[in-house]
C-alpha cells in the first residue's frame, strides 16, 4: 500500500516537472504510432488470406501457409542466393575501401590536396540513385558507352554489362563503392583524428616508418569503429538497396538481379498478392534481426565493442 502511494507520488511529481517535455514529444509520438506502429498491426495479414473486401481484421487466418508457400516455391533458393551473394560481395569489397581511403588521407600532409580529395570523394553520395543508374546505362552502353569504346580501342569485344547476369554484381558493387566510399570514410577519418598525438610522437622518436605507424597505431586505433560499422552492415545484409537493384534490373539480368526486396515489391504491388508479399517481408525482417542480435553478441564476447 505504502509502495503504491510512493509510485503514484513519484509519477505525479514527474508529471508536474516534465509535462512540457512530454507535450513537445507529442507530435513525434503520434508520427511513430501512425506511420510505424500501425503498419506493425497489419503484419498479421502474413498469417491470413487477405481479401480487400473483408479488411485486415476480417480476413480469414491461414496460419503459416504463406510462409510454407514461399519456402517451397522454386524462387526461394535463387532469391536467397542472389540476395546473400550481392550483399556479401558488397560487404567484402565495399567495407575495407573506406578504411583504406581514410588511412591514406590521414597520412597526407598537403592540407589543400587533402581537402580537395575529400570534397571530390564525398560528392557522389548526394547524387540520386536514379541519376547514378542512368549514368551506368550511359557509360556501359554496348554501342556508345565510354567503357565499351575504351574496350574496343584496346582491341577487345564490347560487353553488354547491364544485360549480362554475371556482370550484375560487379557493376552493382563497384558503382556502390564509387558513390559511397568517400562518404563512409568520414567516420574513420574522425576515429583517426581522435588517436592521441602522444602515440605518434613516441613512434617518431623511436624512428618508426610511416608504414609501421599505419600498421601499429592507425589500424589498431580504428578497429573499434570498424567493428561497430561491421555490425551495422551485417544488420542490413538481407535489406540491401531495393532501389538500385530494382532500377538496374531488366529481363536479361533477372536471374542475378532478383533479390528478396525487389521480389516483395513485385509480388505485392504489381501482382497484388498482399498476404504472400507481407509474409516474405516478415521472414526477411526476422532474419535481419536475428543476424544483428547474433553478430552483436559475438562482438560482445570477443571484444568489448558492441552496439548496445
Amino acid at each position: 500500500m505504502k509502495k503504491r502511494q510512493h509510485i503514484v507520488r513519484t509519477l505525479q511529481k514527474n508529471w508536474i516537472r516534465d509535462w512540457q517535455l512530454l507535450v513537445l514529444c507529442l507530435l513525434p509520438i503520434i508520427y511513430y504510432i501512425v506511420f510505424h506502429y500501425l503498419p506493425m498491426y497489419g503484419v498479421q495479414i502474413a498469417f491470413k488470406n487477405y481479401v480487400a473486401a473483408l479488411g485486415i481484421t476480417g480476413s480469414p487466418w491461414v496460419g503459416f501457409r504463406q510462409f510454407e508457400r514461399f519456402f517451397n516455391s522454386y524462387q526461394f533458393w535463387p532469391l536467397i542466393r542472389n540476395t546473400l551473394s550481392l550483399s556479401i560481395s558488397q560487404l567484402i569489397f565495399g567495407f575495407p575501401i573506406p578504411i583504406l581511403l581514410a588511412i591514406m588521407l590521414n597520412q597526407l600532409k598537403q592540407y589543400r590536396f587533402k581537402k580537395f580529395v575529400q570534397t571530390v570523394t564525398y560528392c557522389p553520395h548526394f547524387i540520386s540513385i536514379i541519376v547514378l543508374t542512368g549514368m551506368l546505362y550511359i557509360f556501359l552502353s554496348p554501342r556508345s558507352g565510354l567503357v565499351n569504346i575504351i574496350l574496343k580501342a584496346l582491341g577487345k569485344d564490347s560487353i553488354f554489362f547491364l544485360g549480362d547476369p554475371s556482370w550484375f554484381r560487379p557493376v552493382f558493387v563497384l558503382s556502390g563503392i564509387w558513390q559511397n566510399a568517400g562518404w563512409n570514410a568520414i567516420i574513420y577519418i574522425a576515429a583517426l583524428a581522435s588517436i592521441s598525438p602522444d602515440l605518434y610522437e613516441a613512434a617518431k622518436i623511436d624512428g618508426a616508418s610511416k608504414f609501421q605507424i599505419v600498421r601499429h597505431i592507425d589500424i589498431p586505433g580504428i578497429i573499434p569503429t570498424a567493428v561497430m560499422m561491421f555490425i551495422l552492415e551485417i544488420g542490413k545484409i538481407m535489406n540491401i538497396g531495393f532501389q538500385k537493384a530494382y532500377l538496374m534490373q531488366n529481363g536479361l539480368n533477372i536471374s542475378a538481379s532478383e533479390i528478396i526486396p525487389t521480389y516483395i515489391y513485385k509480388i505485392g504491388l504489381i501482382d497484388a498478392q498482399f498476404s504472400y508479399s507481407a509474409a516474405i517481408g516478415l521472414f526477411n525482417n526476422v532474419i535481419n534481426i536475428l543476424l544483428l542480435v547474433s553478430v552483436n553478441r559475438i562482438a560482445q564476447r570477443t571484444s568489448e565493442h558492441s552496439l548496445w
Binding site: Y122, S128, I130, L146, Y265, N285
Partner: protein, 296 residues
C-alpha cells in the same frame, strides 16, 4: 632517429599514397565531368568516342528540349514543394523530439528512445504500410510525400547528441531558478543556439527529399504529382518519355541523337541544385556524420 632505410621507405610510401589518391580523385570526378561536357557536345562525336577532355562542337538541343517540356517543369515544381514543406516538418519534429530526449532527468526518456529505436529494426513492411496509406486516404496525395518521411531516427540521434553536448546542463538549471519553463527554454535558448545542427538537418533531410523516388513509385498514381526523380527514371532508365519530347523531329536517327543529349542535360539540370550548394556546406555535411558517431 630514423634510419636511412625507413626514410627511403617513407618517400616510397608518400609517392604511392599520393599517386593512388590522384587516381581515386580522377576516377570519381571524371564521370561527372564527362556528363557535363557531353551535354554540350555533338551526339555523333560522343558515340564515336571523340569526346574525352573537351566538348566537341556546341550543341544545346538537349537543354532547349528539356526547357520546352512541361512535364519536367511540373515534376521540378513538385519536388521543390515536397522538399520545402517536407524539410520544414522534419526540422520541427526532429528538434522538438531531440530536446526532451536530451534532458537526463526526463522520466520517459529511456522508454521513448526505445520506442523510436525499435522502428529501426522492426517495421511493418511494404504491404502493411501501403494498405495503411490507402485506408488513411493518403494514397495518391502529395501529403504522403511529406508525412511518411517526417522523422528519421538517425537524424534525431544526431540532434539529441548535439543539443546535449553544446548546451551546458547548468544553463537550464540557472534559467529554471528564474522561472523559465521547458517551453521558453526550448524556443528562446535551444533553437537559437542550435543553428549548426539545424543546418546539418536541413541539408540531410533536404537532399533526401530531393532524391526521393521510392515513395513516389509506391504511393503516387497521377503523373501530375510525380516528383522529378520519377520522371527522370522514365527518361534515363526506361527510355520512354524522350521519344514523346520530339514529335517535330523527322528521322529516327535525329530522334536518337536528341534523346542522348536530353539524358545528359537532364542529369545536369536535376543534380545541379544539390551539387551547387554542396561545396559551400560540405563542412556541415561532414560534421553531421561526426556527431552521429559520438555514442550516447
Amino acid at each position: 632517429m630514423k634510419s636511412i632505410f625507413n626514410r627511403n621507405a617513407d618517400t616510397i610510401f608518400d609517392i604511392v599514397n599520393i599517386s593512388l589518391l590522384v587516381l581515386v580523385t580522377f576516377l570519381v570526378l571524371y564521370p561527372l565531368y564527362f556528363i557535363v561536357i557531353a551535354s554540350f557536345s555533338e551526339p555523333d562525336a560522343i558515340n564515336t568516342g571523340k569526346v574525352f577532355l573537351f566538348p566537341v562542337g556546341f550543341n544545346t538541343t538537349g537543354y532547349s528540349r528539356i526547357f520546352a517540356e512541361p512535364s519536367i517543369w511540373t515534376a521540378y515544381k513538385n519536388t521543390i514543394l515536397y522538399t520545402t514543406f517536407g524539410t520544414c516538418i522534419n526540422i520541427i519534429l526532429t528538434m522538438s523530439f531531440a530536446y526532451p530526449l536530451s534532458r537526463k532527468e526526463f522520466f520517459a526518456r529511456k522508454f521513448l528512445t526505445f520506442f523510436m529505436m525499435f522502428t529501426m529494426y522492426f517495421s511493418g513492411g511494404l504491404i502493411p504500410t501501403y494498405l495503411l496509406m490507402r485506408s488513411l486516404g493518403l494514397y495518391n496525395t502529395p501529403y504522403v510525400m511529406v508525412l511518411l518521411p517526417a522523422l528519421n531516427v538517425f537524424n534525431v540521434i544526431i540532434a539529441k547528441t548535439n543539443i546535449k553536448n553544446s548546451i551546458p546542463e547548468e544553463l537550464f538549471e540557472a534559467a529554471s531558478i528564474d522561472g523559465c519553463s521547458h517551453f521558453t527554454f526550448f524556443f528562446k535558448v535551444v533553437f537559437p543556439l542550435s543553428q549548426t545542427i539545424i543546418a546539418v538537418l536541413v541539408l540531410y533531410y533536404g537532399v533526401a527529399h530531393w532524391n526521393e523516388f521510392m515513395n513516389g513509385l509506391i504511393y503516387l498514381r497521377d503523373e501530375s504529382l510525380y516528383p522529378l526523380q520519377l520522371v527522370l527514371r522514365g527518361i534515363l532508365i526506361q527510355n520512354q518519355a524522350a521519344a514523346d519530347m520530339m514529335g517535330d523531329v523527322e528521322s529516327f536517327l535525329e530522334q536518337q541523337r536528341a534523346a542522348e543529349l536530353i539524358k545528359y542535360g537532364l542529369i545536369i539540370v536535376s543534380t545541379l541544385p544539390v551539387l551547387l550548394i554542396y561545396p559551400f556546406l560540405q563542412k556541415y555535411f561532414a560534421k553531421g556524420v561526426m556527431m552521429g558517431s559520438v555514442k550516447g
